[in-house]
Assembly symmetry: C2
Homo-oligomer: 217 residues x 2
């Protein structure tokens, strides 16, 4: 089962068809039913696998950086996300592109999905805990906005982390995936140069800007 899962994760789930996956594996399409009761379960397995791959990449990159080099850790996470996305475009599209019509992700996908965000949050929380974060974060949020953040509050030690930090974290999280999606889905054509290194330079520059925005380093 595991090997089958790995194999199909390696190949692009581009057409995300059960038959195409079976073909990639050199099996009869019906053989896949020994492992997954239906196409949706296969899809779920692929999605979980994808989130885990991305999460691991981010975790590994972040772990390789000296603990008190906050900006380095931030950089590492962002870079790893983009790197993974460029290396696994089909899987990235599956995770962050248009939702598959008629498919509803089951609860099992939540934990893997949250791994990247967790790494990102950890960096910010560490920075906050050690007082390395710059910028004023104390400003309290209006009640309306505070309420909207209830779910994400459950992921962090609620009473010590200021709202403003969480909201900046969300902004940076959105920007990161926004940039990667724009690059992968072709929206920076005619915007950013096509010379080798142009996209890297643009991405890295924006990462530094985000780091500064959120007060890292």
């Amino acid at each position: 089962v595991a090997t089958a899962r790995e194999h199909l994760a390696v190949h692009g789930a581009a057409g995300l068809s059960l038959r195409a996956v079976a073909r990639d594996l050199g099996m009869a399409s019906s053989a896949v039913y020994r492992y997954f009761p239906s196409r949706d379960d296969l899809l779920t397995a692929l999605i979980i696998d994808g989130y885990n791959g991305l999460g691991e990449a981010a975790e590994a990159a972040e772990a390789a950086v000296r603990r008190n080099d906050l900006r380095g850790r931030f950089r590492a996470v962002c870079g790893a996300v983009r790197r993974w996305a460029l290396d696994h475009p089909h899987e990235y599209a599956l995770l962050y592109g248009s939702p598959v019509p008629g498919y509803a992700a089951p609860q099992d996908t939540v934990a893997p999905a949250v791994r990247v965000s967790a790494v990102l949050i950890t960096v910010l929380l560490d920075g906050f805990a050690t007082g390395q974060l710059t910028g004023q974060l104390g400003a309290p949020l209006p009640r309306r906005q505070r309420g909207a953040l209830a779910p994400v509050r459950d992921w962090v030690p609620a009473d010590v982390v200021p709202d403003e930090l969480m909201v900046r974290g969300l902004m940076v999280w959105t920007e990161l995936f926004g940039m990667v999606s724009f690059e992968l889905f072709g929206h920076i054509h005619q915007v950013i140069g096509e010379e080798p290194g142009d996209r890297d330079a643009y991405f890295h520059a924006q990462v530094e800007r985000m780091a500064a925005f959120v007060g890292v380093g």
Copy 2:
């Protein structure tokens, strides 16, 4: 032709199948071939239509605000983009979701695609021209980064607009569509509350933050 095009734009291009579109129109599938030589051409028409719809919405919203209310204009554009996306989820996914496999957008889509960005840029440029923009924008970019911005340079009066402003504009542009995509594609489940108004509150708060970041108002 025009009426057919409108009709099918109203209906979701969810399954983006020629037959489904024909069904929506109450026509035989073969009748569509009188108007579009192939499925790809139909897709192109839908995409152009979508970009124009979004662009018009943004332009109209922005035009309704007093000229020197810079932040109001910025707000209007962001709000219109989100509003349009929520009202036309299928079309939005077609424009900003995963690329359709095997489909390459022809040159005709570029001009309509650029309309939203143009409105956004106009607001920033107006702010710059009238000196209403806050924050220091003078810092020159390293050569590497400057080079990567060559294509987008062609859209603005090259010598008067500082690099830093352009790069912040790109950041805000990415963040805007990142937020809308996250909301539409289900990534803020378990993050932002589901109570009525929670998402609105979150979005509007982030828009204000972006406005502040880019120095508007």
